[in-house]
């Protein structure tokens, strides 16, 4: 555990020393800010139909662009860079377990992702403050939406970790992670186009469906378990890739 903390601190430091962090941070805030602006603009003109404001915010086109692109970008360098620069050699000859290395990287990327997103929580106060409506904004869906963001991000970052551990080229890592994450997202659309028998299966894996539910304030254990277990699976694959170096032949 101590090693995870030590590596995690270094990981955070290197995030904030790299220009990519700031570029991605600005891009995320611009896109999400724009998205928030348009949603409030449109909803103030005409009342919403079947969906609530938080469902709009957490399911829009821009939201998914950010969700599908940012995790691969922030996780691409995690392992690939250590391999390319050779620092893997000093790391792996220090008394450090392979899973500690993988988890530290994963938590580093997750916390960085949370930091990127945290300014958007101000939108809640903006809405409360400027809304003419006397009924206060319901916080349930907002909290549900943020939990959803975190869960989806954990899955996509774990995919990014696996992709990054598989290559020494960051760009290739990002492309692999985006391809897997994007495919998973698209397969989830099956939820809206199938009936009865398959619906249950697609319900289990549809990220879009999950986010619609969670940003309505509905949080089910099976969702949480799906994201935690699939993150664990991809982290396990990443761990295998890191460890494969220690296999005989």
């Amino acid at each position: 555990m101590r090693n995870i903390w030590i590596l995690f601190k270094r990981e955070m430091m290197s995030y904030f020393f790299s220009p990519i962090a700031y570029i991605v941070g600005v891009a995320v805030l611009l896109i999400m800010g724009g998205s928030f602006y348009f949603i409030t603009y449109i909803l103030s003109r005409q009342p919403g139909d079947n969906y609530t404001a938080s469902q709009w915010f957490f399911n829009g086109f821009f939201f998914w662009i950010v969700m599908l692109v940012v995790p691969p970008v922030i996780s691409m360098r995690l392992f690939a860079d250590e391999q390319k620069s050779g620092t893997i050699e000093t790391l792996m000859t220090a008394p450090l377990r392979d899973w500690e290395y993988v988890l530290a990287k994963f938590f580093g990327a997750c916390v960085f992702f949370i930091v990127l997103w945290s300014p958007t929580s101000l939108y809640v106060f903006v809405l409360r403050h400027f809304s003419r409506d006397t009924t206060p904004l319901d916080l349930g869906p907002v909290v549900g939406g943020y939990i959803g963001v975190l869960l989806v991000a954990m899955l996509l970052i774990s995919i990014g970790c696996m992709a990054s551990a598989s290559t020494r080229n960051q760009i290739i890592a990002a492309i692999i992670a985006f391809a897997i994450g994007g495919s998973l997202f698209l397969v989830g659309f099956g939820f809206f186009y199938t009936s009865d028998k398959y619906k249950e299966f697609f319900d289990y894996i549809s990220m879009l469906g999950h986010m619609l539910e969670m940003s309505r304030g509905v949080l089910e254990w099976k969702r949480v378990i799906f994201y935690l277990s699939s993150s664990f699976f991809f982290l396990y694959l990443a761990h295998c890739m890191v460890q494969s170096r220690r296999w005989k032949n």
Binding site: R10, S14, T90, L91, P95, R246, K248, N249
Partner: protein, 311 residues
């Protein structure tokens, strides 16, 4: 401290080391010598638990590098070739990070970092960003990292590459100092370095051990004692015959030189110094003399001889 038994490492398509067997005792400074691609780095990587051997065993500080790698890694300080570092960190941040990772308790970390930075001569760059350092400083930061947890065994892959002559001398002195309290295994191309710092040399070539001994013994065994070179004013043929008659001589080569002189190289059978005998003969004969030296073999000669023998 190190016990390597029949170590083999095969990569896809080629075998980097075939059946290395050697041991290193506590307190030794052992130099690993060999041409590029001989398997030096591969062996060091196996010893430092970066990768496993295909077969054979390597025991370091009493633990197997394959299944007790964590114990081994706690006890070694390893500096890889090319010294990979994090360019975005400051030197003191990096050394603190490494000390923490290697389990130096928080209370001792500052002291240890200070001690190694003084040892390695990097106190004046502690606040600089690693990416901005010169090659020589980077090399020494890597060295400081290898020492920061005061390991029992220090493994250095080409520690003086990229340093200027003054820095090389400093690092050499440092390694000698370390040898008083640690076991050191280092690899290098620079042969005088091995002669000056190492108590034992292991020469490997094409993945096999070609020789293993003290630098002095190696020179003696492989080349015989140094030849004596003498330049006298006399007929080459007569001189040759005269020197052949010395009992301990194995070979004499004479060649005419300018001004009626001839140059003679006399190889002794064992390690004898023939200079005095030669001088007596020259004086007896009344030849003019303008050079009498004993050529010392360098380790370089031995190295070249051993590593090119099979070709």
């Amino acid at each position: 401290m190190i016990q390597v038994d029949n170590l083999v490492k095969r990569y896809a398509g080629f075998t980097a080391i075939h059946g290395l067997t050697f041991s290193v005792q506590k307190g030794e400074i052992v130099g690993f010598l060999g041409p590029n691609g001989a398997g030096k780095s591969t062996t060091m990587r196996i010893l430092s638990c970066f990768m496993p051997a295909t077969s054979g065993t390597a025991i370091v500080a009493g633990f197997n590098t394959y299944d007790q790698s964590l114990e081994v890694r706690q006890r070694i300080g390893y500096m890889p070739e090319n010294v990979p570092l994090y360019p975005e960190m400051r030197v003191h941040e990096y050394l603190h990070f490494r000390a923490a990772l290697k389990g130096v308790p928080r209370s001792r970390r500052r002291g240890q970092v200070e001690r190694v930075s003084e040892q390695c001569g990097i106190t004046d760059v502690m606040r600089k960003i690693i990416g901005h350092l010169s090659k020589g400083y980077r090399q020494r930061v890597g060295l400081a990292d290898a020492l920061v947890h005061d390991p029992e065994l220090i493994i250095l892959d080409e520690p003086t590459i990229g340093l200027d002559p003054n820095q090389i001398r400093q690092v050499r002195g440092l390694i000698k100092d370390l040898g008083k309290s640690h076991t050191v295994l280092l690899s290098t191309h620079i042969l005088p370095e091995v002669e000056m710092t190492c108590s034992r040399v292991i020469i490997i070539n094409k993945g096999k051990i070609a020789a293993s001994d003290t630098p002095e013994n190696l020179k003696r065994l492989r080349m015989g004692g140094g030849e004596t070179v003498v330049e006298v004013k006399a007929d080459a043929k007569a001189v040759e015959n005269e020197f052949r008659a010395i009992p301990d001589v194995s070979q004499v080569e004479a060649s005419p030189s300018d001004g009626g002189f001839c140059k003679v190289a006399i190889h002794p059978k064992r390690d004898e110094d023939l200079r005095e005998t030669v001088y007596q003969i020259v004086r007896q004969k009344g030849w003019g003399l303008r050079e009498l030296t004993r050529r010392r073999q360098t380790l370089e000669d031995v190295f070249v001889q051993i590593t090119t023998e099979d070709d």
